[in-house]
């Protein structure tokens, strides 16, 4: 039928289900609807217990990541029309514990993210009354891309390494550490080094590049990881050749 579309949605409640299962819903097909609109329609009109996160509906808050036909997507930016007339499968993001239906637990990321010391570190703070730290547009460009991360977790769902080794810090956390390391105002790269250079933090990445492919904000976490590995390897060589050097 052209005027409706079928969604197969993964349902799971830890209170009643042993494992996730699929449930089908039929919703009106509208050209300007995104997958999230269809979920909202179901929740409002058919089943108020359908559980998922969303907020901004404009691709910036990072809440609404799910698998759409197996691909990590922001559902507020994924149109039904791109899949119609076939039915669409909606599942929670892969590689995370499922809390309920389409909601995953992301505390692991939050913990790893904080360990990266994602804040500006200065040896000496200039008083605010003395004005801004100067930064040219070129210096801004050096880290800008990595500052665009909305913490949507799509890259974690796409990352084969995170799936196998949950100790791996993961694409976004590393990209965000690099966001500060590359900021001309920051002097904290050394403080971040111990965490970033730990075996599991970064070396697990095998450059599959899936993270960069699925990232809706063009952050290029794979690039961040590659770049950091190079710096870290150089630092390591330096520290072997001149054990006190660079410290």
């Amino acid at each position: 039928m052209a005027d409706t579309i079928k969604l197969e949605i993964s349902r799971y409640s830890p209170e009643t289900d042993a494992a996730p299962h699929f449930q089908s819903f039929e919703v009106p097909f509208r050209r300007d609807w995104v997958v999230l609109d269809a979920l909202n329609y179901i929740k409002d009109k058919q089943d108020g217990s359908l559980t998922y996160r969303w907020s901004c509906r404009m691709g910036i808050c990072g809440s609404c990541g799910m698998l759409v036909n197996g691909e990590p997507k922001l559902t507020c930016a994924t149109f039904l029309a791109d899949y119609a007339p076939a039915s669409i499968r909606v599942e929670p993001l892969r590689n995370f514990p499922i809390v309920r239906d389409l909601v995953i637990a992301m505390n692991d990321f939050m913990r790893k993210f904080q360990k990266m010391k994602p804040w500006l570190i200065r040896k000496e703070e200039k008083p605010v009354s003395e004005g801004e730290y100067l930064q040219t547009p070129e210096q801004l460009d050096a880290y800008k891309q990595f500052s665009m991360c909305i913490n949507c977790m799509l890259c974690y769902a796409a990352c084969p390494v995170y799936g196998l080794d949950p100790l791996f810090a993961g694409p976004a956390a590393i990209a965000l550490a690099q966001r500060y390391n590359l900021d001309s105002r920051d002097q904290g790269a050394k403080d971040r080094f111990p965490v970033l250079s730990q075996h599991d933090a970064i070396w697990g990445c095998t450059f599959v590049g899936e993270c960069t492919r699925v990232c809706p904000k063009h952050v290029d976490p794979a690039g961040a990881i590659q770049q950091y590995k190079l710096t870290a390897a150089l630092d390591w060589v330096k520290s072997v050749v001149m054990p006190w050097g660079g410290k």
Binding site: T16, G59, G62, W119, L120, G131, T136, Y143
Partner: protein
């Protein structure tokens, strides 16, 4: 029941809440701080702000000019002492954010760049491309991670303020992940719960902006102020309500009607020029631009679209290079959601509910009349926004008054008496209410989404861009009826784990209170001022209404309105002039 205890508790982890949390930490690192937020802080709605944040920094500008623009923009309903504090502290706050790492856009020489914005006579709007709120929020959030004294309750929903002995001493909240209901006590509480655009059907506001903070305060006995002043933004995408930032016009975009005519020239907003002129035409204030849209519609000069009438925003003459450099998010949103590329095509837009000028009544330090309760950000009304907020004043407001409220709440907590023992009984009652009214209730008959839709439609027809006595009176009546029906909600979801059906029901009850307070305040303000336009009382009436409406929740749950004088310091009420005359006036 579990109880946890802190010194200062924040409801909300958006721009205002996080700024307040840091202020408390920096004032006294020994104070234990809790940030309770119904979403992870970086999901808060501050993330959506696009255009920028105003603060005087360039040598051709002055604090007095920023103050004057704000006060005239607010149609003289702003408290001028608050505006003076605001313009004074905004630049420092924005610089502080720079020192914390905010990636502000820069000039070639490395200094902060500024852009023009609606209603502002000078260029003073700081920006981080067109993702200003996103960068501000993430900078603040990441910065809070370095303070050990800040404890976060991520994805906890606050349902009630605990009041005993005449002061607020904490909250009851639900942990969404587990369904656990518990008391979180504190010696002072700061509401930073954001705005309430979702009481209307068509809004730029995220789904979380349901006025919970206003509802919490109102029910605890703290009054709401100036609730009739609700801002329509003139340029939202039809259907989604996604905002096309004012920066698009500040960079030189035109608003045109179906004949390609820049119609704003017909509404006392100046004469068209190729390059944007400050405080003129497309850079007039939002209330006047949204009202002009309705007039154009009445003249039959708008364009009919699938979601009602629209006008066009034309950016084509700006060229691809400028659009990519200054407005990349606008281009992304238009191509993704509207299937229109602004480099080559016209963008259909219409006015959309955007911002709440009113809110929990506070003084200049964020204190509400209820001891122990503070408020800052969009949830609060200090008031610096008066009858119409100027674009790019809200983000700096979060910082200035977030920091002020943080300091005041920290001081209050440092000298406050210990938490009363009787608080726990109240928390138990609240737990029982939630269980009985929602989770265990099997006799309910009404659907949350149905009542919500009816409320939203009621608000649009009764309290939209133009209002009358009869539209408002009818709206008030319908809302009363919806209040009664909402006592009888039937949830589909009775489980404990991440129950968003329960959250939606609780949000609805806050929204209904907020909606009633808006309509009642609008009904009693028989004048037109800023965003409050009464077709039956088209003139501003300073004799009677140079005053804030202050609305209390009466014992029967109905709103009761009182008035408070506006604080005038140096700018006696005058006429709001935009367009070329304003340019002349600026020379004086």
């Amino acid at each position: 029941m579990d109880v946890t205890t802190h010194d200062v508790l924040l409801v909300g982890g958006g721009g205002a809440g996080l700024r307040a949390a840091i202020a408390v930490s920096e004032l006294n690192p020994n104070l234990k701080i809790a940030v309770v937020s119904k979403v992870y802080p970086m999901r808060s709605h501050t993330v959506s702000a696009e255009g920028g944040a105003a603060g005087v920094i360039k040598s051709d500008d002055s604090l007095d000019e920023h103050a004057y623009d704000t006060i005239s923009g607010g149609d003289w309903l702003c408290d001028q002492d608050a505006v003076e504090a605001f313009v004074n502290e905004a630049p420092q706050e924005l610089l502080q954010l720079e020192h914390w790492g905010c990636p502000w856009s820069r000039q070639d020489d490395g200094h902060i760049a500024v852009r023009p914005f609606g209603g502002m006579k000078k260029m003073r709007t700081w920006f981080a491309a067109d993702k200003t709120g996103f960068h501000m929020l993430h900078t603040l959030f990441q910065t809070t991670m370095k303070y050990n004294s800040i404890f976060r309750y991520d994805e906890w929903f606050v349902t009630k303020l605990l009041v005993d002995d005449g002061r607020v001493q904490g909250v009851v909240a639900i942990e969404l992940m587990s369904g656990k209901i518990q008391a979180i006590t504190a010696k002072s509480v700061i509401l930073c719960a954001g705005g309430c655009g979702r009481v209307f059907p068509f809004t730029t506001n995220a789904s979380i902006k349901t006025g919970d903070g206003m509802g919490l305060a109102y029910r605890a006995g703290a009054p709401l102020k100036d609730m009739e002043f609700i801002q329509y933004h003139p340029t939202g995408l039809p259907f989604t309500g996604i905002l096309i930032t004012e920066a698009a016009r500040a960079e030189g975009g035109y608003l045109v009607n179906k004949d390609g005519y820049r119609y704003l020239q017909d509404y006392n907003l100046g004469t068209p020029t190729a390059k944007p002129v400050l405080r003129s035409m497309e850079l007039g204030p939002r209330d006047r631009l949204s009202q002009a849209f309705v007039k154009e519609q009445e003249k039959g000069r708008t364009i009919d679209g699938p979601y009602g009438p629209v006008v066009h925003l034309d950016l084509r003459h700006l060229g691809e290079k400028l659009i990519n450099a200054k407005l990349p998010f606008v281009r992304e949103l238009c191509t993704k959601y509207q299937n229109v590329d602004p480099v080559h095509e016209l963008i259909p837009v219409r006015p959309v509910i955007h911002y709440m000028m009113g809110g929990v009544s506070t003084d200049i330090n964020g204190a509400t009349p209820l001891p122990g309760l503070f408020a800052a950000g969009e949830v609060a009304c200090v008031s610096i926004n008066g009858a119409n907020r100027l674009g790019s004043n809200s983000l700096p407001e979060l910082l200035v008054f977030g920091a002020r409220a943080g300091k005041a709440a920290a001081e209050f907590a440092s000298s406050a008496k210990p938490i009363s023992n009787s608080i726990l009984a109240q928390a138990f009652d609240e737990q029982r209410r939630i269980e009985n009214q929602f989770l265990r209730n099997t006799t309910g008959r009404e659907r949350t989404s149905t009542i919500r839709e009816e409320m939203q439609q009621t608000m649009e027809t009764s309290a939209g861009i133009y209002r009358t006595e009869s539209s408002l009176a009818a709206g008030a009546k319908t809302l009363r009826h919806l209040q009664e029906r909402s006592d009888n909600l039937a949830l589909d979801d009775h489980s404990l784990t991440f129950n968003t059906d329960l959250v939606a029901a609780l949000e609805l009850s806050f929204m209904l209170d907020v909606a009633e307070s808006m309509v009642q305040s609008a009904l009693q303000r028989t004048e037109s001022r800023g965003a409050h336009q009464r077709t039956d009382f088209p003139k501003r009436n300073d004799e009677k209404f140079l005053a804030h409406s202050v609305v209390f929740r009466a014992a029967d749950g109905r709103p009761r309105v009182e008035y408070l004088p506006v604080r005038i310091t140096r700018w006696p009420p005058g006429e709001r002039v935009y367009g070329q005359p304003a340019q002349k006036a600026s020379a004086s």
